[in-house]
């Protein structure tokens, strides 16, 4: 018998290792030969550990699986209490457009043969037959914008690096993924590491870079292990080619190191303080050399763009948000996980239909979109289509496309206070509006909590100063969650003095 049991962190955190041990023990008790493939996750986190059994008609899913459910996998599968049916046929899977995540959950992440059999390396082969400018043009035409948060066009960044003079050029993959509610980078690295490697190899060709780094946060031990192994296998198989070598680097628990210039300082072995721009990293990045810094999903979307052509990718999406986006549905969600689709679904469709509302069954109060620097959106904004400009128009951002759902028990004053507290803890300390502003922000919100409503204009003013005066988006965007909470949920800020005392 052949089983698939994810090695993905979420599956492991919900008991996948125990399930694997139980499958092996049960098989040996019954004298049945089994093969257990450790795949990535399909993204249906509420069903993890999701075990798949290979049958003549396809892969049958069972989940969420416990050790007690394992013996039943060796009996009549049709009557197993956790049987879900064919995984590919589940509504969550069928509703998606999986371009970047096409192979995640499907293949053995460390099998290059399976990677190739499922369309891998086709993009790199095509790029190898093109000149630099043509590769850059293809990526530009696809409309791909940076998935790390800022949404800068990837092709334009590559063009700058490609044309910049420099003795050495670098491709740096930003796998710091520090935002709460985001796990797409992690799932991609754990479930299809060769896809990221291929994307970096193409970036190397396009820019004339000789060295690639993947900077992975230390909170991701599984991703670090899988990526390191995949780089070793790719190097052995000659996939990286003669021109590019790659190295995995591990962060050290600083959120701000996801900011690209802070990340470069960290890679160089320095404190992760933000650098003033200009100079752009594209011109003077790692060790002062021209450097591409791209998010995992930006780079991992390049192979399919090169394999299927820019138009195929660009034809999905809405307005200036082209292609697909892996939504990460988190927090108090009935169905939480990763859902890749074209840009353009409304927030309401995502929250009410795909996520199925809250896990607690209570009404949705707010959805924070874009991580800790993103705004809290009330139900009245649920008609907002998912796109860069559309969310900016609502004083928000899509960031790395994480969504945190809160039910009606959430207290928005506490959420605003946390945003300021987080900024104070994680500030790199280089600029005053962020370093001092965040501390004052916590104090000011505490005044509000004590019923001192005269602090509201002070908080508003402070947010303006942080927004306009901070060196990077840590201090600059912390006002988004704070001001959105204050604007959309004023009742939570109107505390009476008596109640507070």
């Amino acid at each position: 018998m052949k089983f698939y049991v994810p090695l993905d962190s979420a599956a492991v955190a919900l008991g996948a290792e125990e399930v694997v041990a139980a499958i092996i023990a049960e098989a040996s008790r019954r004298g049945v030969a089994v093969e257990v493939v450790r795949n990535g996750s399909r993204g249906m986190v509420w069903l993890e550990p999701l075990v798949e059994v290979v049958t003549d008609s396809g892969r049958l899913g069972f989940g969420p699986l416990t050790v007690a459910d394992v013996p039943g996998l060796f009996g009549d599968l049709a009557v197993h209490p956790k049987a879900l049916g064919m995984v590919e046929e589940l509504p969550w899977m069928k509703g998606q457009t999986r371009l970047t995540f096409a192979r995640v959950g499907v293949i053995d992440p460390l099998s290059l043969a399976e990677y190739e059999a499922h369309g891998g390396l086709a993009g790199l082969r095509r790029a190898q037959g093109m000149d630099r400018a043509a590769i850059v043009a293809e990526v530009t035409e696809s409309g791909l914008r940076g998935r790390g948060g800022a949404g800068f066009p990837t092709g334009i960044k590559w063009k700058t690096v490609s044309e910049a003079p420099g003795a050495h050029k670098y491709i740096v993959c930003n796998a710091d993924e520090g935002d709460s509610a985001t796990f797409a980078d992690r799932m991609l690295m754990e479930g299809d590491p060769f896809c990221l490697i291929e994307g970096m190899a193409i970036a190397g060709l396009a820019c004339g870079a000789t060295k690639g780094f993947v900077y992975i946060r230390s909170e991701y031990p599984v991703a670090i292990r899988i990526m390191a192994e995949a780089v070793r296998l790719a190097r052995e198989a000659g996939v990286l080619g003669p021109q590019l070598d790659m190295e995995i680097r591990v962060g050290a628990g600083a959120y701000v190191c996801g900011e690209e210039t802070s990340l470069l300082n960290s890679l160089e072995g320095k404190r992760g303080v933000v650098r003033a721009k200009p100079p752009l990293p594209a011109l003077q990045g790692f060790m002062g050399q021209p450097t591409v810094v791209n998010n995992v999903i930006s780079l991992a979307s390049v192979p399919v763009i090169m394999a299927k052509g820019a138009a195929h990718y660009r034809d999905f999406g809405l307005g200036r948000s082209r292609g697909t986006i892996p939504l990460q549905i988190a927090g108090n969600a009935r169905f939480g996980g990763l859902y890749e689709c074209a840009f353009g679904l409304t927030l309401g469709q995502i929250v009410d239909e795909i996520a199925g509302g809250t896990a607690s069954g209570r009404p949705v109060k707010a959805v924070q979109v874009g991580g800790p620097l993103g705004a809290y959106h009330p139900r009245s904004q649920f008609d907002t289509p998912f796109g860069y400009e559309e969310f900016a128009g609502k004083d928000g951002l899509i960031g790395h496309a994480g969504l945190t759902i809160f039910d009606d028990t959430a207290d928005m004053l506490s959420q605003a206070r946390f945003a300021m507290e987080f900024c104070a803890i994680e500030s790199c300390g280089k600029c005053t509006p962020c370093r001092i502003g965040a501390v004052r922000g916590v104090e000011t919100i505490d005044r509000l909590a004590r019923g001192d409503s005269s602090a509201i204009p002070i908080l508003t003013d402070l947010c303006n100063t942080m927004k306009l005066g901070s060196l990077c988006a840590l201090g600059g965007f912390t006002p988004y969650p704070v001001m959105s909470a204050l604007t959309h949920f004023p009742d939570d800020f109107a505390r009476s003095k008596e109640a507070a005392e």
Partner: protein
């Protein structure tokens, strides 16, 4: 107590193993912490000398990053996620209960040296929160029962 000669030898080995890397300080510090459970004071001048940095620069890097500790942790390290998606699933309540059960606050170690409690801001388990990490092992949908796992 760490034997200082043994420590110096092990650090020398680590420094040697990282020769030729571009920007080697973080990988070196990770390796030192993996070997000793923390970055011993005595490592600072040795690393500084090998990389032609000042002691203050090395110290500045160690103190910047939340991961590096200058003193050993307890026998178990319990990290609880404090970030928004876990908050939405009751992480604050779980943290409160864990702190009460252990009798310590964030960044503290129980007096018997058994557990160190650390906050973490996201483990990428945001669709199955509250999330935790116990001695490097990931746990999803955790509750105060997690204290039992570090009871030994």
């Amino acid at each position: 107590m760490l034997d200082s000669a043994v420590t110096a030898d092990r650090i020398a080995e680590i420094l040697e193993a990282h020769r030729g890397l571009e920007g080697p300080l973080l990988p070196i510090l990770h390796a030192v912490q993996a070997a000793f459970g923390h970055v011993p004071q005595s490592a600072v001048p040795q690393i500084a000398k090998a990389l032609s940095l000042s002691k203050a620069e090395v110290h500045g890097v160690i103190s910047f990053y939340h991961d590096f500790r200058e003193a050993p942790a307890g026998r178990h390290v319990l990290k609880l996620c404090r970030a928004e998606a876990c908050q939405a699933m009751g992480a604050d309540r779980v943290a409160g209960a864990v702190k009460a059960a252990l009798g310590i606050d964030w960044h503290e170690t129980t007096p018997d040296g058994r557990v160190t409690l650390e906050p973490v801001f996201c483990l990428g388990l945001c669709a199955c929160g509250p999330a935790a990490m116990v001695d490097g092992r990931l746990v999803g949908r955790c509750d105060e029962g997690i204290v039992a796992e570090v009871a030994k």
